[in-house]
């Protein structure tokens, strides 16, 4: 029997003060059950409910360099242990990355957001992760470091399936890097769940770049509709280089809905998700277009 | 930091693994571990309320170091009912009105039990002597002696 009252298994705990220490530890224990603790909101739930075995736990929250948020013209660099609530309070996120802002705000509750982190949400690799579609539409990259070096991987490539990523055991995500969006672009996030703050039935993020009345570029990512967040590439294709009209957006939305491969689960049926996706995409497209400064006719 | 040493003993059939302070009495140790049935009346061996049976012998736990019980078997009044002889004594105390405030009862029963285990045909005078290390302020002892005597008699008959 699992218990949600206690952590029944014993493990060794480390709270390194430098990234190097953390990486050394990860390397040392790479052949054992070692886990990284950032916010703990997913990890501890899993430990309680799934009897996940852990021998070593490394808390990253005592490492100063991972707590930083850097901003410049290039974009944003967000340290691995910055809590989501700190991000939602930053004006720059609200202004320039509204899809991310909305994604975060839609998540859980303030107490959870005070604990949870972006890499945590990503590494958890839930198909429903609310920060994933926004990060994907902004073409965010993850800085993955290990004792042996580092690599930059786009979020899209990072995720492989439910709970699966490309990260290796001796590695950790130290930073999320989000490029600065062009000035005439717009983005938006949308989510449907049973009640507020719940896990999404569908979530999605859309980013559009406008050139006059034309859509220069578009990225549409849907969550909770596949084993991982899904990029509706054909729908994007319908938009790119086209004059934006209500009609077009309806068409794009229909296309996007066709691209998803939803499943039936306790939260929703596949059929309902398809219908829902179409409506949501259409509405979000409109919002993103407006935010890009575009107008809609017809 | 207080220095404590490991201790392992059996109390009423249950194994207890714990630590004790050097100067801790067995009485304090037992109460600290929830064996509240063992009473402290004077904490210097003058009244017998804290009597328990250690490896078959009735002793005053307030003047016994916890460490001296290491590896031993302790029986308190709550373990008494596991044995027929213990239950008989308890019931006899109840039936004879040998219990008033009850504060001496737990110790008195233990002394009686250890005594009857070794002495099968005592008379009332011998019983009085046997329980002379256990004070009682309520009963005047008469009914206590009668209760113990009745069990001894019954044991005799059933043999």
């Amino acid at each position: 029997m699992s218990t949600s009252r206690l952590l029944t298994q014993e493990f060794e705990y480390f709270a390194p003060h430098t990234l190097k220490e953390a990486l050394d530890l990860l390397y040392k224990y790479k052949d054992e059950e070692v886990k990284i603790l950032a916010g703990g909101t997913d990890l501890l739930v899993k430990m309680k409910t799934l009897d996940m075995k852990i021998d070593y736990l490394i808390n990253l929250k005592e490492i100063p360099e991972l707590k930083a948020v850097e901003t410049n013209n290039q974009g944003l660099k967000i340290g691995a242990t910055v809590p989501l609530s700190q991000l939602e309070r930053r004006e720059i996120i609200k202004e320039k990355y509204p899809a991310l802002y909305e994604g975060i705000k839609s998540m859980a509750a303030i107490a959870i957001r005070n604990m949870a982190t972006l890499p945590g949400n990503i590494c958890n690799a839930s198909p429903a992760g609310d920060t994933i579609p926004p990060l994907m539409v902004y073409e965010a990259q993850l800085r993955i470091v290990s004792k042996e070096g580092e690599r930059l991987v786009p979020v899209e490539d990072f995720l492989r399936g439910v709970g699966e990523t490309i990260i290796r055991k001796e590695e950790l995500v130290s930073q999320v890097i989000i490029p600065a969006p062009p000035s005439n672009s717009g983005s938006a996030f949308s989510k449907k769940s049973r009640v507020k703050a719940d896990i999404a039935k569908i979530n999605l993020a859309i980013w559009l770049e406008r050139e006059g009345k034309t859509c220069k570029d578009a990225r549409i990512v849907l969550g909770s509709v596949f084993i991982k967040a899904l990029r509706a590439k054909r729908a994007e294709g319908l938009l790119k280089g086209e004059m934006v009209s209500k009609e077009l957006l309806t068409q794009v939305a229909r296309q996007a809905a066709e691209e998803i491969k939803p499943i039936d689960d306790v939260r929703s049926t596949a059929e309902y998700r398809t219908t829902l996706a179409r409506v949501m995409v259409e509405d979000t497209l409109k919002l993103a277009w407006e935010r890009a400064g575009g107008e809609l006719e017809g | 930091m207080m220095e404590e040493y490991p201790i392992e003993l059996t109390i009423n059939g249950e194994k207890i693994v714990s630590t004790a302070k050097a100067e801790e009495s067995l009485l304090r140790f037992l109460r600290r571990h929830g064996f509240y049935e063992v009473k402290g009346g004077c904490e210097k061996g003058d009244c017998g309320t804290c009597t328990v049976i250690m490896n078959g012998k009735a002793i005053k736990s307030c003047i016994t170091l916890a460490g001296q019980a290491n590896g031993k078997e302790i029986l308190t009044v709550r373990g008494l009912e596991k044995e027929e002889s213990g239950r008989k004594l308890q019931e006899s105390f109840v039936q004879h009105g040998a219990i008033q405030c009850g504060f001496c009862t737990a110790g008195m029963l233990m002394t009686a039990k250890a005594y009857l285990d070794e002495n099968h045909q005592p008379n009332k005078v011998e019983i009085r002597k046997a329980i002379s290390g256990n004070l009682c302020r309520c009963t005047g002892y008469k009914k206590i002696v009668e209760a113990i005597y009745a069990v001894a008699e019954e044991n005799q008959k059933s043999k």
Partner: protein, 767 residues
């Protein structure tokens, strides 16, 4: 009375089984998460000025949560009260001072309180409190303390805290008529209650901000006093009384409750505080020592004509119950005898000894020692048999008490109990030892049960018959081991016709149980027994009424028993109790009742000459002993002890015998070995190895003879027995010593040394 099913049967008590199994949780068998441990710092001088108290070091000790002195107590000085409902005036009010302030009056007086994470830290912290004392001379002898110009113990201008008088007839004329006059002085010592459970408890504050005190107390009504000390409304303090490991009057005053309340109030955490045995002996009340000067006059035929007595008692450092104890002593001073001319004067005096207060017998055992010794002397002088002289003079039905004139209209069993006790000694034992002499002694006495009538005593009890035929009782009654709680169950079981196993009782909780008054003054059988009877009978009446309707018979024809409502003389015709209960429930007939019993109410008497009724009733008894005295060592062995009382009705004979046997041995300890020795206010007997009480090996064959006259005021005619049972054994033993070796021991305890000093005067005078 009709035939009883449960009352009058020697059945096991309700609480016995849990006690035999070790399952009953006494006051100290209880802990709460995060609990702190309290400790009291006691004064190290019996009389001193407190110049200053520095608690800095104590407070700095890690783990210490509070260090309190008088200054931290919201109302450090109030007055002593004992749950009485009537205003009784200044004469009975003493100063209740929580913590010593400016001046300490006895060694052991509480000076400061500590609460800490562990007992050890609390003790260490108490030792770190720096009290700067200026020792004062003090006064330790009540006779000295009475003299003008004596050191003043308190803040008043005299150490005498009360004077009581009683007289009838003409004392001068009485002595003029006397043909024999005997005059002597008797002394009795400080005595400890020596219950095996020391004082203590646990307190916590609940979410209602109520201070809950789980404590062993004979007087849960003290919640009001504690509230007043803290300046809180009465309903913000709750006592949860536990079964006590003995009380005997020692848990009648406030013991640790105020300290617990203060510490938990200041720290907002649960606090546990327990006295060590040494603290218990040092700090709680003692039985009053008395110096009693007596003079009796009689005719040659043994008829008493005059008795004059002056009693001086040592109140110790604070009055507490002293005035009341002295009132009892005054009323008991002439014993159970008809004497036409009587004059009694009683003085109670403050000294710097440990304070004295209630102790089983409450002022009766002390004068009993004096007058019963004198009766014996008179008998020897006049060559009259000890039984005969008592028979000749004792009160009988219709006669009155020689001190107050209270008339006895119900059966007075004195001649009967005396004869029975004396006879039951049987054949004289033979002893082989050439150094041993056998002696016999008899004493008779009377003692009140129920509180003084001018206190306007009441008790309440709630009884509910459940829908499944089980019974729930709620009564505030504290149980100090005498079977008080079980008694109420027995009464309810009898009245409602259910077995004892179907009764559950909740007791001793000031918030949840109707207040039943104090378990003191041998009043609970009488008072709460009657309250329970009243409540149960009310329910019974409703049940019978309903059953009568259902059976279509006259209710008077129905009786209740064995869970049936039966037609009298025709047991085949009955209704199961359950059916009647169902019918009552369907119709909404109340099967619960909270009833109050009221004792007789009188006015506060004139204390300079106390006359009339001040007690509801008395219990009469006699005790006889056969002893041996070793003429070379002075050692006394009690060989046989008979105790015979008119108990009215023994509701549970096992419990009544238990009181009589236990009371006898309590009294035997008083006679032979018990004394709290104080030297200039310092207790020299602080533990059970110095303060010795009888062990099983010291106890003789005891025979309890119950006379059941049915004449008591309690339920079914019961009388109280708890305190009377111990109050005359000491003079019986002294009389037996005289009978054996011809020496009169006039001060208790009659130790081997005292006897030898009297027997071998020449030896000791030569040294």
């Amino acid at each position: 009375m009709s035939e009883f099913k449960i009352v009058g049967k020697p059945i096991p008590r309700e609480d016995a089984r849990a006690k035999a199994k070790g399952e009953l949780k006494y006051a100290d068998d209880f802990s709460l998460p995060g609990m702190l441990y309290g400790k009291v710092l006691h004064s190290k001088y019996p009389a001193a000025k407190i110049i200053s108290i520095d608690t800095t070091k104590a407070k700095q000790l890690p783990g210490v949560h509070a260090v309190l002195t008088a200054r931290d107590v919201p109302h450090n000085e109030t007055i002593t009260r004992f749950g009485q409902s009537a205003e009784v005036g200044k004469g009975f009010e003493g100063l209740y001072r929580v913590l010593a302030d400016k001046k300490v009056r006895f060694r052991g007086e509480a000076v400061a309180l500590v609460a800490a994470d562990t007992e050890e830290i609390a003790e260490e912290a108490a030792a770190l409190i720096e009290v700067n004392y200026e020792p004062l001379p003090g006064v330790f002898d009540p006779v000295e303390a009475m003299k003008p110009g004596a050191y003043l113990v308190g803040e008043g201008d005299s150490n005498i805290i009360c004077k009581f008088g009683c007289s009838q007839g003409d004392i001068k004329k009485g002595f003029a008529e006397a043909e024999v006059i005997i005059e002597d002085t008797y002394q009795v010592p400080f005595v400890d209650h020596a219950y095996l459970e020391t004082e203590g408890g646990v307190a916590w504050i609940d979410e209602k901000e109520v201070i809950n005190i789980r404590v062993g107390s004979q007087v849960i009504e003290h919640f009001r006093d504690v509230a007043e000390v803290l300046g809180l409304p009465h309903n913000q303090v709750r006592y949860i009384g536990t079964m006590m490991g003995g009380g005997f009057g020692g848990k009648e005053d406030i013991t640790v409750e105020t300290y617990l309340a203060l510490l938990t109030w200041k720290t907002k955490k649960p606090v546990r505080l327990f006295y060590t045995r040494e603290e218990s002996i040092l700090c709680h009340s003692k039985r009053h020592p008395f110096i009693m000067h007596y003079k009796v006059g009689a005719k040659k035929d043994g008829r008493l004509v005059a008795l004059e007595a002056e009693l001086i008692s040592d109140a110790g450092a604070y009055p507490y119950l002293s005035p009341w104890v002295n009132l009892y002593a005054t009323v008991n001073a002439a014993g159970p005898y008809c004497i036409p001319n009587v004059k009694i004067n009683t003085y109670c005096v403050l000294t710097n000894n440990t304070f004295t207060s209630a102790n089983r017998g409450f002022g009766a055992p002390q004068p009993n020692v004096a007058y019963e010794s004198l009766m014996d002397e008179l008998a020897y002088k006049l060559k009259i048999d000890p039984l005969e002289i008592r028979r000749k003079n004792c009160i009988t039905t219709g006669k009155s008490l020689s001190t107050t004139g209270q008339v006895f209209n119900t059966y007075v069993a004195l001649p009967e109990v005396a004869e029975k006790a004396w006879k039951a000694l049987g054949e004289t034992k033979k002893v082989e030892d050439k150094n041993k002499r056998i002696g016999r002694g008899l004493a008779i006495g009377l003692m009140s049960y129920g509180r003084m009538t001018f206190l306007h005593d009441t008790s309440r009890c709630y009884v509910r018959l459940e829908s499944d035929g089980s019974v729930l009782i709620r009564s505030g009654i504290p149980d100090l081991g005498g079977g008080q709680v079980s008694l109420l169950c027995q009464i309810a079981a009898e009245e409602l016709g259910v077995p004892m196993s179907k009764i559950r009782i909740y007791y001793s909780d000031t918030a949840l149980t109707p207040l039943a008054g104090t378990t003191t003054a041998t009043r609970q059988t009488y008072m709460s027994g009657n309250a329970t009877l009243k409540a149960a009978r009310e329910i019974k009446k409703r049940i019978i009424q309903k059953a009568a309707e259902m059976m279509n018979v006259n209710p008077e024809k129905l009786v209740i028993g064995e869970e049936k409502i039966i037609v009298k003389y025709d047991s085949a015709q009955y209704l199961p109790l359950l059916e009647v209960i169902k019918a009552c429930n369907t119709e909404g007939i109340e099967l619960f009742c909270e009833a109050q019993f009221k004792g007789p109410f009188t006015m506060v008497p004139d204390l300079s000459n106390i006359r009339g009724t001040i007690f509801p009733d008395f219990t009469f008894g006699a005790q006889a002993v056969e002893i041996s005295v070793d003429i070379e060592t002075g050692q006394v062995e009690v060989l046989k002890l008979v105790t015979c009382y008119d108990v009215g009705k023994a509701i549970n004979p096992l419990s009544v015998e238990g009181q009589m046997e236990g009371g006898s041995i309590y009294g035997m300890g008083y006679a032979l070995m018990e004394e709290v020795v104080m030297e200039k206010g310092v207790t020299l007997t602080p533990s059970f190895s110095e303060y010795i009480i009888p062990t099983a090996a010291d106890v003789p064959e005891v025979e309890a003879i119950l006379v059941e006259s049915g004449g008591g005021l309690g339920p079914y005619g019961a009388k109280g027995i708890g305190e009377p049972s111990c109050s005359i054994i000491a003079p019986a033993i002294l009389n037996a010593i005289y009978d054996a070796v011809g020496v009169r021991i006039k001060s208790l305890p009659a130790t081997p040394e005292k006897i030898i000093r009297a027997l071998k005067k020449h030896y000791f005078e030569g040294r």
